[in-house]
Amino acid sequence: MAVIELAGIERIFHLGDSVVHALTHLDVGIEAGEYVAIMGPSGSGKSTLLNLLGLLDRPDAGSYRLEGRDVTTLSPDEQAAVRSQRIGFVFQSFHLVPRLTAAENIGLPMMLAGIPAAERARRVTQALKDFGLDQRADHRPDQLSGGQRQRVAIARATIMQPAVLLADEPTGNLDRATGEDVIHLLEVLNQRGMTLIVVTHDPKIGTRARRQLLMEDGELRHDSAAVHLRSVDDNPPGPLSGKGGDDVSPAAPALGERSAPSSTA
């Protein structure tokens, strides 16, 4: 089942007198459980595409179907509900709330969704354990290393068990080793069935994805799926990948800290 279907997407920005076509004639379909890298130089429209996918922005034309439902026509509140339930965001600069502890940051989406405190506490405790952060629960972001911060952010993005995880340059503010860890963590989540879409300009990270979308001047220049779809067996899904995208029941060791030097304070 295609979790994301974009058809004829256009996005136009007006900057003074000039008109910028940030996205033109975009038709993309992404299957559930896919691992997609959106690549391209800056200004190519990859961030605009990610914002559209995350329902933070609206296209000027075209339709966007998320899990078969047209989400471009939804009201702002309905879109907020979709963001809450179906989409997880991971940002380059982490975007943790500085006055909240790691546990509170992870619980934030559940608090916004109105989930009872007891249920929140239970799921946050589980997530802290899964992501190897149980010693850091009461630390505020400024007391965490970059890698730990991004792991808190990923735990937060997945706590509502979304269908799609959107990562915007998730390793951009991290050193190479820590970035490796974060990418590995995202890949484990993907292997469990979560659709993963990573925006990056780093070819090393981009080529790890099973599918690359190359953007240039607001157009899709190259879609590696055109090759892959013909021979699906080239890239078999990971051993943990289940059928239900929702059913993220993580196994603790895989998500935990992989190697000792990964945390760079």
């Binding site: 933070l56 963001r83 809450s84 965001f89 975007h95 006055r99």
Partner: protein
Amino acid sequence: MRTADVLRFARDAAAGYPLRTALSVLAMAIGVAAVVVLTSLGDGARRYVVEQFSALGSNLVIVLPGRSATGGFSPANAVTTTPRDLTVDDAAALIRLPAVRRVAPVVAGNSEINANGRLRETVVAGTVASYRDIRSFKMAQGTFLPEADWNRGALVAVIGAKIQEEIFAGRPAVGELIRLGDRRLRIVGVLKSVGQGLGMNTDELVFVPVSVAQSLFNTHTLFRVLVEARSRDDLEAVKREVTALLKARHGGEEDVTVITQDAVLATFDKLLRALTAAVAGIAAISLAVAGILVMNVMLVAVTQRTAEIGLLKALGARGATIRDAFLAEAAMISLAGALTGYGLGLFGAFVLRQMYPVFPAYPPDWAVIAALATALGTGLLFGIMPARRAARLDPVQALMKH
């Protein structure tokens, strides 16, 4: 988002910037404290005046001989030209009226007091024992005029504090003899000093039994009759009954004037209430200023937390949720300010009372309620604009700010 979570989130957000929050709480507190203290002053002044009047006897009805009406020509005026005397018997008759508690006839005149080798001009008031209760006088020495037949008073006198000081140089005066005109009277009491009481200085008076004064001044008419009603509510009834009874006793002619102090008191009361309200209004301006400060603080908060607002939206917060969180924060700052200010104001009023014990500086309830409501109201009102601005932020733009 649950209400408890909204409140907790807002509280943590306010606590996250302690200096900024403390300053806006302080501004709001000063506004509320100003209202509480200033209205305490204003209302204290009002109560002070009312109490002074009450000391004089606010249940008092005063009967004057003669008609002060601008009546024109009535048949009664044509028949009799001179009013009848207001007599001691008239006054005695008033006691039997149901709404009347006490009656004191008063005769007044000037005389010379001669004692201890000194001589001075003085005002002599002829009255009866109940006068002391009506005016709530306190005795410094001895007793007031004795209870006796109003028409056969003993040859005794009660003197004011200043007379005692001037004639007897502060020595105990009870038992001393004085000469008033051609009478020799024995002093039975000295009044405690009460100071100026609405135009008449009681400290310079000499009180004698009404019959003594009447023979001293060779008159039958009374200067005044003071009538005390049983309660404030009975004032109108007393006024009516007194007028009716005296009219009947004077052969159907209404030749006395009956006045109450209530009208004067009501005017003062109204005046000072208006003054208190005006002062409260001026103080409320500082509340408006505090409200604008809260708005400013909240606008700064929205700017400072733009990235956070973008994040909350990305995490699925609805615009209304973000608006509520910021409104709750503004309300909390205002509430904290209002309560702190209330405490400060009460303390200020307490200090005032300690400094001026005669001055009952308590804030009136309406002012306290109005101040707290205005503080909360302005805080919320001025919080709406920043909160709406936060709710409307474009998440993409907001997330880019860091």
